[in-house]
């Protein structure tokens, strides 16, 4: 985008969404493993 701040804004927004979804998937799997025995 020819702007280091806007590039950083886009990248960090992406990381935030990936962390949210990744945490959701990992936590759900961990939970299923625990409750499912």
């Amino acid at each position: 985008m020819n702007s280091w701040v806007l590039d950083m804004f886009v990248v960090l927004n992406g990381i935030m969404l990936v962390v949210a979804v990744g945490n959701y998937l990992i936590d759900s799997r961990k939970n299923n493993a625990t409750t499912g025995g």
Partner: protein, 484 residues
């Protein structure tokens, strides 16, 4: 009266009706044999309502009005700075909220000052901490509340074409009514409606901007004005080095994790709610709302030249949007301000009617119809006090008053709220930490040229060190132990 003025009044009346209706519905959660009904919505908030109230409260009118103005003046660095509030809230939800909720549930804490008192052992020392935390909360949040009332009053006045004082009374009376009626449940549910409006507003604005211009032309125009707008060589307005903008992240994390009007929402979530689900909603809503300051870049490239950068959003609305849509977006901006103001009013009121009362009188009634009445009267009394204070508040420095209130409160609360959740200090450590955080951040903000992020962060660092050091130096084998 012009057609669009009538339309604005119609929107306002419809919004008021919805808010009051929600207050009435939420009153079912209020139980006169358990103060948690009023103070914590009976710990019944689901993941979406929980996420919505956290985001709506965290993103005040600043995101819609102040931040686009700063972006207009300083460029894209403010887009990045303002954005950090979104991941900070998400990290606080994912990696801190569940610890706090678990401990609060065990101790049956209904407010943050009560949590501070109980986590440090309760008893007389705990009541002292609860009282001091309540007083600090009341002083600093009243300052912030007054600034929010003034901001919503100013915007409402131009929207409805009425006097500023009348507008402020109109807007705040509604908040007082539904908060008195339904307590935190009413605040959280109205926040949910309001954050949906705010997110819709963000989408409308983005669609208008990105479909009306060519991105290459936009970049070229900004670079022609000043290359620092897109590629700043300093971190201004956050500091002299480029890296200073990243300080907003720890500031915003502490803002979300320790400020009583933010973290009380963690306590109000239903015990079976998974933080991973709340985190997803927070990330999506935060992502949408973090786009708003881009308006400042659009105005700089395509709008008329502004004498005052703060007018970037109002001028954008009047220049580029249809008058009907302009009225609707203004309502959503008013929502952003109201959703912060109602949370602060509820927190200040509960600090007065619940925490201060219990701290001063250990035999005071709680979980009774009388206690509920006192909680409701506190909302009324402090709401009216906020309105009166607003009438005598200086007509400037609205943002600065907000920063002073929230930044200093954050510095005061880091030890007894955040550190104590993982490593328990004692009463002396918590008390000294609150006072050191309060005075360090307050004096740095008022007496030096340090930025609004640096002052509170230095106060928070000093407060943290003092919390641990004093706790270790004064600990006895009974009063302090590690829980990590």
């Amino acid at each position: 009266m012009e057609f669009y003025e009538i339309l604005n009044w119609g929107l306002m009346i419809a919004a008021v009706a919805v808010m009051i209706f929600i207050g009435a519905m939420a009153s079912r959660r209020v139980n006169d044999s358990d103060e948690g009904g009023f103070l914590l919505a009976g710990r019944t908030l689901g993941p979406f309502v929980g996420a919505s109230t956290i985001v709506a409260t965290g993103f005040s009118g600043w995101g819609f009005m102040g931040s686009p103005g700063v972006t207009y003046q300083y460029g894209a660095i403010e887009v990045l700075g303002n954005f950090f509030f979104a991941p900070a809230m998400m990290v606080a939800v994912l990696f801190f909220a569940s610890f706090m909720r678990k401990r609060a549930l065990k101790m049956n804490s209904n407010t943050i000052p009560e949590y501070i008192g109980q986590i440090h052992g309760g008893g007389d020392g705990g009541r002292l901490l609860q009282g001091v935390a309540a007083v600090i909360t009341i002083i600093l949040l009243m300052v912030f509340l007054v600034s929010q009332i003034k901001a919503v009053g100013l915007l409402g006045a131009s929207w409805l074409n009425i006097e500023m004082t009348t507008s402020a009374w109109l807007m705040i009376s509604v908040i007082i009514i539904y908060t008195m009626w339904g307590g935190l449940a009413a605040v959280a549910w109205t926040d949910t409606v309001m954050v949906c409006g705010m997110a819709l507003g963000a989408i409308v604005i983005m669609v208008q901007m990105f479909t009306s211009v060519d991105l290459t032309d936009w970049v070229a125009r900004l670079n022609a004005i000043d290359t620092n707008l897109l590629n700043p060589e300093t971190g201004a307005p956050y500091g002299s080095s480029k890296g200073s903008v990243y300080l907003v992240f720890p500031y915003a994390f502490l803002f979300a994790a320790v400020l009583p009007y933010m973290s009380v929402r963690f306590l109000a979530l239903r015990p079976d709610v998974k933080m991973r689900t709340v985190g997803i909603y927070v990330a999506i809503l935060g992502c949408l709302l973090s786009l708003i300051p881009i308006v400042g870049l659009y105005m700089r490239a395509y709008g008329p030249v502004l004498e005052q950068a703060d007018n970037a959003m109002p001028m954008y609305l009047s220049t580029f949007l249809h008058p009907g849509l302009q009225g609707l977006i203004t309502l959503f901006i008013i929502f952003a301000m109201k959703s912060t103001a109602n949370s602060m009013l509820h927190t200040v009121a509960s600090a007065t009617s619940h925490d201060l009362r219990l701290a001063l009188n250990k035999n005071a009634e709680h979980d009774s119809p009388r206690a509920l009445k006192i909680n409701r009267l506190a909302v009324l009394g402090l709401g009216l006090l906020g309105l009166v204070m607003m009438m005598y508040a200086p007509p400037f420095m609205l943002s600065w008053l907000g920063i002073l209130g929230s930044g200093t409160l954050l510095a005061a609360m880091i030890g007894p709220v955040f550190i104590s959740t993982f490593w328990q200090g004692n009463v002396a450590g918590a008390l000294t930490a609150m006072l050191v955080g309060f005075f360090t951040s307050g004096s740095l903000l008022m007496m030096t040229d340090l930025g609004w992020v640096e002052g509170p962060l230095i106060g928070a660092a000093a407060s943290s060190v003092v919390y641990v050091a004093v706790s270790l130096l004064t600990r006895s084998s009974k009063s302090a132990y590690s829980v990590a």
